[in-house]
Symmetry: C2
Subunit: 336 residues, 2 copies
């Protein structure tokens, strides 16, 4: 198979685009698409300082690479979840990436902010782990952006993540989640940073290929708490549809954005207040993050914490695929 652009040997076939590329031309293709997405969706301008949320995985590091190479002013934000070796390894990847390029990286620890690392938070609350973790990350991302003077946070959600989230919301016809499914969550309050997803049109396979070709050292394992997540079934199902009919995922997501999202958005008029405790936005009096922190404080005895909490049984890498992104993808911001 030949590269569509230079006629050389192709290394990657893209069935949904009915084309194939050699390594360097694929890198150009990928960058062009991402930057075109940024432009068309007015995600940010060259004058803005961009906080890129990085997990150490292929998607967020590929995103940071594209934006940095294109000359945008970027700072990385790594949120340390305190999930044992998984967190150590992913943090090391982010630090290496930033160090090699001389880029600034901020590190915020869930343990400092919430009062315990995620494994202990998991035991302290009835929320599903991914839900408590997602809530913490969105809160921390937003506060880090505001405190650091960043008007926009960019995350590495790819097409597969976004299609799977939309798929789950559609199966439940969850009107609130559907109203918030968008590649650009506008800053609808002075204390909210804009959240954007410049990779939402690139498939998981494409971001993996980009990271590989660019020689980015990323963490392949997914979070050990991801096992059995419903979103994994949804990704499998979407992969089956994509196999039968290439382009299905993109059609599903883009069709929603073009034709249906507006219908749900019109209905969803949320009035945002400021949390009486922390001052961040909420729809109630005390925000969900402060409530979570209270729960953790009550449950975590002094001296206890990660050490007291056991990991779930040996991770199944196949079943765990796709989690990190789902954490970010959880739809709620600061529900009461």
């Amino acid at each position: 198979m030949k590269c569509r652009k230079c006629g050389g040997r192709a290394v990657l076939e893209l069935r949904r685009h009915n084309t194939a590329f050699c390594g360097p031309d694929f890198v150009d293709f990928f960058r062009h698409h991402v930057l075109e997405t940024v432009r068309r969706w007015r995600m940010f301008t060259r004058d803005e300082a961009i906080l890129v949320a990085v997990s150490g995985g292929k998607d967020s590091l590929a995103l940071w690479d594209v934006l940095h190479e294109a000359g945008y002013a970027t700072t990385g934000l790594y949120i340390d979840l305190g999930i044992f070796e998984y967190s150590h390894a992913s943090k090391a990847r982010c630090e290496a990436f930033a160090g090699e390029r001389g880029l600034p990286l901020r590190v915020v620890s869930v343990s400092d902010e919430v009062g315990a690392p995620i494994p202990a938070v998991r035991d302290a609350t009835r929320r599903p782990t991914c839900s408590a973790c997602g809530l913490s990350k969105r809160y921390i991302m937003n506060r880090a952006a505001l405190e650091g003077g960043f008007s926009v946070v960019a995350t590495g959600h790819n097409l597969d993540d976004e299609a799977a989230t939309l798929f789950g919301s559609t199966l439940r016809w969850d009107e609130s989640a559907l109203a918030r499914q968008t590649p650009v969550l506008a800053a609808t309050h002075a204390k909210l940073a804009r959240r954007v997803k410049p990779l939402f049109r690139m498939s998981e396979r494409e971001t993996a290929a980009y990271a590989f070709i660019r020689g980015i050292d990323y963490i392949v394992e997914e979070c050990p708490f991801a096992r059995g997540a419903t979103s994994i079934t949804h990704k499998e199902v979407l992969n089956r549809l994509e196999d039968v009919s290439p382009g299905s995922k993109a059609m599903f997501l883009q069709g929603f954005l073009d034709k249906a999202r507006g219908l749900f958005q019109e209905r969803e008029a949320v009035r945002l207040l400021e949390c009486v405790r922390c001052g961040q936005t909420t729809t109630g009096e005390v925000c969900a993050f402060c409530k979570l922190r209270d729960q953790v404080k009550r449950a975590v005895r002094p001296g206890a914490g990660a050490a007291a909490t056991e990991l779930p049984d040996a991770p199944d890498p196949a079943a765990a695929r796709g989690l990190i992104s789902d954490l970010f993808a959880a739809s709620e911001i600061h529900a009461p």
Copy 2:
């Protein structure tokens, strides 16, 4: 496993209802649900004469059985598609069912109405076979209802059919199809009969069990032209989701009807006219059925027809599952 009602030996487990039944109690359960659906959705009253569209398959014959046993005034309508042995066998099942119960059965032939049987129609038009066939059936059903003085046509669409149709429309975000997805299509014009789907809450497995327990002799094979239909992939995918989480199909369909359908319906305001050729409803000047008939007339030379048309390669029963229902399920009525 024990029957929930009588404690006797259960023959059927219903995971999504977390229950099990013996044969007679399942029959009661099934009838109760169908009649409750008719009542709650105001599908028809005991004063109305109901035209039941029957294909010879399990769903439509189970429906006719339930309505007849409940004392409704029913007449069957069999549409002879002229699809070789498949049509002969399905017609014989309908005639036997009606004969044994002394019920009236009307037979209308596509060949008489369109000018050629479906295999020849298939060759005469660029429309996909299922689309031309579905158009013909909806037209014939409606005209048969009006001419026979029936205000309502009942079809045997089950939960699996409806969920798969909704799934396909949602993947494309086909706004017109979504607006029309309902178990009761109201008669919005004097020349339209109401169309209702009393089995839309019963799964394919449940209607098959009902027909089996009731000793109904139905045709198991599906239409030979169904092979490779996208709807089959959609049914597979929904079965996978149902396996992982029983009740998914019902939640998907019911959630749509409760929360989303209204949004799409509000947008869809179609003005219905009468076809200048046949007088049936259309959104243009000449209805789609008359146009199809013209195409067939031009293409089918005298003496040609079914005999000149070859069947597709040997049918694959697994791949062909679910077609008959999809024919009925196609969303358009008389698009121009």
